[in-house]
Amino acid sequence: MMNKSMRLFGAVAMGAALFLSQAGAEAAEKDAAAVEASFHTPTCVLMKFSDDTRFKALESNERFSDLVMEKLLESGKVRLQVQTPINKDVEDMLYNERSQEFIDAKRAIESGDLSAVFEGQAFSDETANTFSTAEQGQIITPSLTGRIGKENEAEYLIHGTIVELGKGAWEDMDFKMGMQVGATVLNNIPGLGIFGSIASMAMQNSHKNDEGFGVVADMRIIRAADGKVVWNKRASVRSKKTKNIGISIYSKDSAELNETDYVKALEKAAGTLVGDMVKDINEHRLSL
């Protein structure tokens, strides 16, 4: 009787041990898969940025694309399948993909069959008109994005637009505010008398004018398989340098803007866009 109980107990214990080891192996496999997923670096290809400004002759988009490529490589957050931007005009490619659709739609409208146009896929809320106007959640012609992704073995396309580029001059309001606060303090320090008033007036009349280049640029990440824009951000930056500064009898003018300042502005914009992308990835607002 005792032997039978012991044998029964042994069998149960062995079964439990087998079950637990199996469950443990499955859990270990799942953990490994989760770790692998968290370390998955998405494969991407950078398309040359579009230039929607008046200054196409400057070819800012080519320089900007190179700067963005550098920042992406430095970030380590994406695996770029091609080490240079793809030098093709994506808007032209999109047009060619859709040109027959435009011809068919125009014919349909002329013949009176408007439902063929308005109730078609191209008119859904999710379908973007162009790359440059595509917003997050919208879809850009999947046949085109899928083809580019397949040709380059990339899961995502990165593209952007230089929306605005300009030279400007503006007063440094922070400097002015600081001077006004200082002037108020000087005016109220007991014992300074007339000297305090003179110094206060000098500070109040101070000014600092900056000039520089401004850049407004978009960057978007498009999932190649279905053409969906999964991320889209805009950077609006200024790269300034002091044009002139005047405090009382002291004044100084700086040199004119030059190409270095222009490149600095582009670099700042590229850094801002890639920095925003990295931040969103790190904070799990962007999952690739």
Binding site: D52, F102, K106, I109, G112, L114, F123, E135, V163, V216
Partner: protein, 275 residues
């Protein structure tokens, strides 16, 4: 007996065909057309199809841009919402880009342009130069006679202006002809309009939920500088279109101080995009 039943069924079927079922008719847009003509309405919309940016290297068409509220640089190629309120000679036109809006207010023979900056739950109004002053300019009715009524941006002005009767559309601008109407499987009905001009071909579909206008979609086709046929689409989601003007919008915000240039103005615009 069976024959009598068949006759009764046939008679019932014939009667059913004559009953006024809910079919789309050209009359649904008339109510909205009348509101626009009477200048008595509140319209609120969202444009979910941001337009491509217009560059100054393109041919500038005065009819395209005159009196329209220009897009701030930071919001180029972004979707936007807007509101238009009219009551007689007063008109409020707002284009809202989320954090910032551009507003034009007409009161009788004066127009004011200012902006609204969203801060937490309220809106702070400022003059176009960022200060508290707003310039009063003279309203020029002849501009609307030449270039059409402005409802904010060029696209919105075109789509809402297309609803106006031919007699209200300035010479040279396209007049949209009724094409047809119908019902859709999702319960909506529609009315279609079409215009063809030197500027290209455009069709507009107005969608109704019952008699309520809920959406306007436009498909336009023209040639680019290379002669290629290019298509554009525009979709407005209509949030409100009623004959009750929102009177709170027709007064200037209290914090703004008016600088009156309306008597000095001789066709020169200052800090505004007037009419």
């Amino acid at each position: 007996m069976r024959i009598k039943k068949w006759i009764a069924a046939a008679a019932l079927g014939a009667l059913a065909l004559c009953l006024p079922f809910d079919t789309a008719s050209a009359g649904k847009l008339d109510a909205y057309r009348n509101m626009l003509v009477a200048h008595n309405y509140t319209i609120s919309y969202e444009n979910i199809t941001p337009p491509e940016r217009i560059h100054n290297r393109d041919v500038v068409d005065m009819t395209y841009s005159f009196g329209r509220i220009p897009t701030p640089q930071n919001y180029a190629q972004k979707s936007y919402s807007g509101m238009i309120v009219a009551q007689g000679e007063k008109r409020y036109v707002e284009v809202n880009y989320g954090g910032e809006s551009r507003i034009s207010l007409r009161q009788a023979d004066k127009t004011f342009s200012f902006k609204g900056i969203a801060k937490k739950d309220k809106v702070e109004y400022k003059g176009m130069n960022g200060g508290k002053e707003v310039t009063a300019l003279k309203f020029h009715p002849e501009n609307e006679l030449l270039y059409g009524e402005s409802f904010g941006t060029s696209e919105v002005s075109r789509l809402l202006g297309a609803m106006l009767p031919a007699s209200s559309i300035p010479a040279g601008l396209p007049v949209y002809q009724y094409v047809g109407a119908g019902n859709l499987g999702n319960g909506l009905s529609y009315e279609d309009y079409r215009a063809s001009s030197s500027a290209g071909l455009e069709a507009i579909r107005y969608y109704f939920d019952g008699t309520k206008l809920v959406r306007i979609a436009s498909a336009s086709y023209d040639r680019d500088e290379k002669g290629n046929l290019v298509g554009h689409k525009c979709i407005l989601k209509i949030k409100d279109f009623s004959a009750v003007p929102d009177a709170s919008k027709l007064a200037l915000p209290e914090n703004l101080k008016v600088v009156d240039h309306s008597q000095q103005d001789k066709g020169k615009k200052k800090h505004g995009f007037g009419f």
